[in-house]
C-alpha cells in the first residue's frame, strides 16, 4: 500500500539531491542517477500495476479519508491502466536518459534534474484521482518541458520554444477554467465525487462548456488538430533525448488524462457522450490523415517524425472516441507500441545528428551509408509505423480498427491511410539517407537546410536503447498483452465502479471483456501503400513525365495548402485553437 506515492516522490527527491550536489558530481554519476531513478520508478509502478490488477488501490494523502461521500484530501486511485501507463512512462524516460549519456556536459546536472521532475509529474498525472492535482501535475510536466527545451537554444530555435510554451500555457489556462466551472457546480475536486454529483444532471450548457474547456486544454497538449501546431516547432528545437520523451509518451499521456476525465466524470452525460463519439472520432481521423500528409512534405527529419506523432495521436484518439473497452484497450497497446517505436526513431535521428551534424533529409542524402544498423532500424521503424502486422502497435491498431468499424466502416481505412503516409515518409528518409536513393539534390528546389551542431558520440553505444525499444515493441506476446490491456480497459471505463471504489461501497468485480480484432488485410495493404509512396517519391525522376504530372496535379494544391497553414506564427496558432474550441461548441448544438 505504501508504494503508492513513491513513483512521484522518488524522482522528485532524486532531482532535489542532484541539485544539492551538482557542482561536485561528475557527469557519469549524474547520468547513472537518472537512469537508475527511472528504472526504479518503472519497477515500483510495475509492482503497483500487478497489485492493481487484483484490486485497484486507493491511497489518501495526509491520511484524510473521505467523510460521508465528501473527499477531504487528495487521493491516488491506482487502477491497472494508470499504473501501467506510469510504468511505461518511466521506461521511456530510462531509455531517454540512457540515450542522453554524456550529452549534457555543460549544463551541470540541470537537464537531469528537470527530466526527473518531468518524470515525477508524469507518473503523478497518471495515478491521481483529483482533478486539481491532475492540473498541478499537468503544469509541472509542462514547465519542465519548457525548461528542458530551452537547453542550448540557437538563434533560430527560440521561436519554436516560444510557440511551444505559449500554446501549452494557454492550454493549462483552459484546463483551469474547466476545473473552476466543475467546482462551481459540484463543490468538489475529486473525480469520483464530481462524477457522482453530475451524474444526476441530464447535461446542461455548464457541463458542455466545462467539457470543452477541459478537453481543449488536454488536446492542446496531445497535439490533436487543430491544436497541434506547436509540436513540430518544439521537436525541431529540443535535444534528441527530450524529443524521445515528448513524442514517446507526453502526448499520449495527455490523451490518457482526457480519457480519465471523461470516464470518471462525463460518462453518464448523454450530450457529452454524443459529442465524443462524433466530433472526437472525426477529429481523430482527420488528424491521422492530415498529419500523415503533412509528414510526407517535411525535409527536417525531426519535424517529419513530429508530424508522424501527430498522425498516430489521431489514431489513438479515434480508438478512445469509440468508447468501447476494445477501443480503449487498443489505445493502451498503441500507446506502448507507438511510444517505443517513435522513441527509437527519434534516437536514430539523434544518432544521425551526432554522426553527421545535419538533420535535413535532402542534405544527408547518401551520407549515412556508414551506419547500416541504424538504417535497418530506421526502415524497420517505418514499416512498424505503416502497420506491419507484428508487435504491440499492431495489436493496438487491430483492436482500434475493429471497434471503429462499429461506427463507420470506412474509418479503419482512413486511419490506415494516415499511418501508411507516415510510414512512407520514414521509409523514404531511410532510403534517401542511408542508401542514397532519390533524385540528385540538384533537381530539387535549392532551399537552405538547417545546420545542427551536435555533440559527437559513439553510434554503437547510442544504438543500444534503440534496439531495446524496437525489440520490446515487436516482441509483445499478442494474447497475454491483449488480455491485460482488456482487463485494464474494463476497469478504466467503469464509471460506477470507480465511484464506489473511491467513496465507499461494494466494489463490483468486472469480467474481462473479449474483443475481436480486425484481420491483417488492412495492415498489409497499408504497408504496401507505404512502400509504393516511398518508392514513388524516391524514384520520381525515373517515372514517366505524365505520371509525375498527374500525381502533382492531384496532390499539389492540397499539400501546398497544408504547408501554408503551418506558418510558425503564434497568433495563427492561437487562432486555430479558438477555431477548435468553436468546433466543440458547434458540436454540442448539432
Amino acid at each position: 500500500m505504501q508504494l503508492a506515492p513513491l513513483p512521484v516522490v522518488i524522482p522528485l527527491l532524486a532531482a532535489v539531491v542532484l541539485l544539492a550536489v551538482e557542482r561536485h558530481t561528475p557527469l557519469w554519476l549524474v547520468d547513472a542517477t537518472g537512469i537508475l531513478t527511472a528504472l526504479a520508478t518503472t519497477g515500483i509502478a510495475a509492482m503497483l500495476a500487478d497489485k492493481a490488477l487484483q484490486q485497484p488501490i486507493v491511497y489518501w494523502f495526509g491520511g484524510w479519508q473521505p467523510a460521508s461521500g465528501v473527499a477531504i484530501g487528495i487521493s491516488f486511485v491506482i487502477d491497472p491502466a494508470g499504473a501501467m501507463v506510469a510504468c511505461f512512462s518511466a521506461l521511456v524516460f530510462a531509455g531517454a536518459f540512457l540515450f542522453g549519456w554524456n550529452y549534457f556536459d555543460d549544463a551541470m546536472a540541470r537537464f537531469h534534474i528537470l527530466m526527473l521532475v518531468f518524470l515525477g509529474a508524469m507518473t503523478g498525472f497518471c495515478l491521481t484521482g483529483d482533478i486539481f492535482n491532475l492540473f498541478v501535475f499537468f503544469e509541472l510536466m509542462s514547465v519542465s518541458a519548457y525548461a528542458v527545451t530551452a537547453y542550448k537554444l540557437e538563434a533560430s530555435e527560440i521561436e519554436g520554444a516560444l510557440n511551444f510554451t505559449v500554446m501549452n500555457t494557454i492550454g493549462s489556462f483552459l484546463l483551469l477554467a474547466g476545473i473552476a466551472l466543475l467546482y462551481g457546480r459540484t463543490g468538489a475536486l475529486n473525480f469520483a465525487q464530481i462524477g457522482r454529483a453530475v451524474a444526476s444532471s441530464k447535461g446542461d450548457p455548464l457541463l458542455a462548456m466545462a467539457f470543452a474547456l477541459l478537453f481543449g486544454g488536454l488536446l492542446i497538449k496531445a497535439a490533436v488538430m487543430p491544436f497541434h501546431f506547436w509540436l513540430a516547432d518544439a521537436h525541431a528545437v529540443a535535444p534528441a533525448p527530450v524529443c524521445v520523451v515528448f513524442s514517446g509518451i507526453m502526448v499520449s499521456v495527455a490523451l490518457f488524462g482526457a480519457a480519465r476525465i471523461y470516464w470518471t466524470i462525463f460518462a453518464p452525460i448523454q450530450p457529452v457522450t454524443e459529442v465524443v463519439k462524433s466530433l472526437l472520432l472525426y477529429l481523430g481521423v482527420a488528424t491521422a490523415v492530415l498529419g500523415g500528409c503533412t509528414c510526407l512534405m517535411q525535409r527536417h527529419i525531426k519535424r517529419l517524425l513530429a508530424f508522424s506523432t501527430i498522425s498516430h495521436v489521431g489514431v489513438m484518439l479515434a480508438g478512445l472516441a469509440t468508447l468501447t473497452p476494445g477501443g480503449t484497450a487498443g489505445f493502451f497497446l498503441y500507446l506502448a507500441g507507438h511510444g517505443l517505436t517513435k522513441g527509437a526513431l527519434f534516437m536514430l535521428a539523434g544518432i544521425l545528428m551526432s554522426a553527421h551534424q545535419n538533420i535535413d533529409e535532402i542534405a544527408l542524402r547518401g551520407q549515412a551509408r556508414d551506419l547500416p544498423t541504424s538504417g535497418v532500424c530506421f526502415a524497420l521503424g517505418g514499416l512498424v509505423l505503416a502497420g506491419l502486422p507484428l508487435g504491440l502497435m499492431n495489436s493496438g491498431r487491430e483492436l482500434i480498427d475493429k471497434s471503429a468499424e462499429g461506427t463507420h466502416l470506412w474509418i479503419p481505412y482512413l486511419l490506415a491511410l494516415g499511418s501508411a503516409l507516415t510510414g512512407a515518409a520514414v521509409l523514404r528518409t531511410a532510403g534517401r539517407v542511408f542508401v542514397g536513393l532519390g533524385p540528385d539534390p540538384g533537381e530539387e528546389e535549392q532551399s537552405p537546410s538547417k545546420m545542427e551542431r551536435d555533440k559527437r558520440r559513439p553510434s554503437a553505444l547510442l544504438l543500444i536503447p534503440v534496439i531495446v525499444f524496437l525489440l520490446l515493441c515487436l516482441s509483445g506476446q499478442a494474447r497475454l498483452v491483449e488480455d491485460v490491456a482488456l482487463k485494464a480497459a474494463a476497469t478504466f471505463t467503469n464509471h460506477d465502479g470507480y465511484a464506489t471504489l473511491v467513496l465507499g461501497g461494494q466494489v463490483p468485480s468486472i469480467p474481462t471483456p473479449s474483443a475481436e480484432h480486425s484481420g491483417p488485410l488492412i495492415d498489409w495493404l497499408s504497408v504496401a501503400f507505404a512502400v509504393v509512396v516511398a518508392g514513388f517519391q524516391l524514384g520520381r525522376h525515373k517515372t514517366p513525365r505524365c505520371l509525375r504530372w498527374t500525381a502533382d496535379l492531384v496532390a499539389f494544391p492540397f499539400f501546398k495548402a497544408l504547408d501554408l497553414a503551418h506558418t510558425g506564427h503564434i497568433g495563427d496558432y492561437a487562432a486555430w485553437m479558438t477555431f477548435g474550441l468553436l468546433l466543440f461548441a458547434i458540436a454540442f448544438v448539432w
Binding site: Q2, P5, V9, L12, L13, V16, L19, A20, R23, Y59, F61, G62, G63, V70, I72, G73, I74, D106, A107, M108, R110, I113, L114, V117, G120, A121, G124, F132, N133, V136, F137, E139, L140, V143, S144, Y146, A147, A150, K152, L153, L181, G184, R185, T186, G187, A188, L189, P205, L206, A208, M209, T567, G571, D572, A574, A575, T578, F579, L582, F588
Partner: protein, 252 residues
C-alpha cells in the same frame, strides 16, 4: 494569415462563441451563494483537527498538501529553466562575481533611493519572516512571506548597489537554499511514512491554536516553501539583473 485577417477571424469566432459562453456561465450558482460541501467541511473541521486558525494554510499544506508540493516544484523547475537559459548562455564560469557593463551609460544612484532601500530592506525582511512564521494563525504563509522576503532582498539591491549586493547574494547559496526548501517539503512528507502513516500525514504534536507552533507538520513544510520561494525568486532576479551586463573585469 496576416494581421488584419487574423484579427477579423478571431473576432468573428469570439462573437460566435459568446452565446455559448453566456449559456454555460448562466447555470452556475449565483455569485455569493457557494453551495458546495468542500469549503464548508474544511471550515468546520480545520481548527479542531489541526489546531490552526488559518483555513487557507490548512488547505494548502495539510488537506491538499500534495498540490502544494507540485506547485513548489513548478517554481523550482521554472527557476532552473531561467537559470539554465540565461546563465547557460553567459557561461557558468562567469557567475561567481558581478560583471561590468562596458558602454552603457551609468545612471547615478539617487541618495534618496539608496537610503530608502537601506531603511526598508530590514523592515521588510522582518515583516516577511513574520508572515511566513504566522502561516497557521493569520493570513500569510510560505508563498506570501517568501515573496515579501524576496522584495526585501531587492530593496537591499536598491540600497547597496549591484556589486555589493552581488557579493551577498551568491548564486551557489541561493541554489542550495532553494534545494533545501524543496527537500524539506518532499522529505517532510516522507518521514511520516516511516512511522506507518500516509505521505504528508501530520504526526507531529499539534500545539496550541493561535501560536506559531500549531499545526504540526504544517509549520515545517511551510518553512520549506518560504525558503524555496524567496531563494527561487532571488535567483530569477539575479539572472535578469546579470543580463544587463556584459563580460568585463570585476569592479565596484
Amino acid at each position: 494569415m496576416n494581421h488584419p485577417n487574423r484579427s477579423i477571424a478571431f473576432i468573428i469566432m469570439a462573437v460566435v462563441l459568446a452565446p455559448f459562453v453566456v449559456a454555460g456561465l448562466w447555470t452556475l450558482p449565483p455569485f455569493g451563494s457557494y453551495p458546495g460541501p468542500y469549503g464548508d467541511v474544511i471550515n468546520a473541521i480545520g481548527t479542531s483537527a489541526r489546531h490552526i486558525t488559518n483555513m487557507v494554510t490548512g488547505v494548502n499544506y495539510d488537506f491538499r498538501g500534495l498540490d502544494t508540493l507540485g506547485e513548489e516544484f513548478i517554481l523550482f523547475a521554472s527557476v532552473t529553466g531561467v537559470v539554465m537559459l540565461l546563465r547557460g548562455a553567459r557561461g557558468e564560469a562567469k557567475s561567481a562575481a558581478a560583471l561590468r557593463i562596458e558602454h552603457r551609460r551609468r545612471e547615478g544612484r539617487s541618495e534618496a533611493v539608496a537610503g530608502a532601500g537601506r531603511v526598508l530592506a530590514p523592515i521588510t525582511l522582518l515583516y516577511g519572516i513574520y508572515v511566513v512564521l504566522h502561516a497557521q494563525t493569520t493570513p500569510g504563509g510560505g508563498f506570501q512571506g517568501g515573496v515579501i522576503v524576496f522584495a526585501a532582498i531587492l530593496l537591499a539591491y536598491l540600497g547597496e548597489g549591484y556589486s555589493a549586493w552581488r557579493r551577498m547574494a551568491r548564486s551557489a547559496v541561493l541554489d542550495l537554499v532553494e534545494a533545501a526548501g524543496a527537500a524539506i517539503y518532499a522529505v517532510g512528507g516522507l518521514v511520516p511514512m516511516f512511522f506507518g502513516a500516509r505521505y504528508l500525514e501530520n504526526i507531529l504534536p499539534l500545539g496550541q491554536p493561535k501560536t506559531i507552533t500549531s499545526g504540526g507538520l504544517i509549520a515545517v513544510v511551510n518553512l520549506g516553501v518560504g525558503l524555496a520561494v524567496a531563494a527561487g525568486f532571488s535567483s530569477i532576479a539575479l539572472e535578469l539583473l546579470e543580463e544587463t551586463r556584459t563580460a568585463g573585469d570585476d569592479q565596484a
